[in-house]
Assembly symmetry: C2
Homo-oligomer: 132 residues x 2
């Protein structure tokens, strides 16, 4: 199976698949003409990576998860730890973004949005934190 078929089957762009090989996440064989050849195992790995990335895991996490996945003697605690850490980071990001959203919502609501210069948004950005 060539790269474009692997791309279609995994939902990953061919460019991304090449990149994953570059950084050592997958190791497809090569046929005599130099083309990458993707085995069923490679396809499983690509699908795994696509799903892990969709859940926001970093490439480094993906590398660890993939190794655990292929290790039949793994401890599920190791997997869970990675997932928990990642979950914590996501929750932090959500909290940060939510705070921004709340502030921005207030600001957007308070701005008339007309052709006049007066603007609470800019006023807020100009003001010291204490007065916001």
């Amino acid at each position: 199976m060539n790269i474009s078929q692997a791309a279609t089957a995994s939902g990953l762009p061919a460019k991304t698949i090449r990149y994953y090989e570059d950084i050592g996440l997958i190791r497809p064989k090569r046929s005599t003409n130099g083309y990458r050849t993707f085995s069923d195992t490679n396809l499983h790995q690509l699908n795994f990576l696509a799903r892990a990335r969709a859940l926001g895991f970093s490439i480094d996490d993906c590398r660890s998860l993939l190794a655990l996945w292929e290790d039949n003697a793994r401890a599920s605690a190791d997997v869970k730890q990675i997932a928990k850490d990642h979950l914590s980071e996501i929750e932090i990001k959500i909290a940060d973004l939510s705070a921004m959203r709340d502030t921005l919502t207030d600001l957007v609501t308070s701005c008339d949005g007309n052709d006049r210069p007066n603007c609470p948004i800019l006023n807020s950005l100009s003001a010291p934190v204490s007065s916001r």
Copy 2:
């Protein structure tokens, strides 16, 4: 005022301030020895930038906002538009992250996290989307 004082006063690292000059966000004068000299105006700009960045505005947005801030003939509608667009992007990010959080929470809950290999998290990452 030298860069380290400007950094302390604005809460931005000196590196970041140099970077902002590099990309043309601010234009501090130089004294004869080549040191950057920060005026009150520069400080106001830095504080403005620090606050806008803290709200998640991109550097490009900051550039626009700064220009509007300095333009006494601005229309508040222009400011509001930038803020609204940014708010939309934040809400999309929150939605994406929340979906990840929900899935991850389920997975983490379902994994025993012991020394045995059986792991619902890995199972889920191995499985096609339909079965998740």
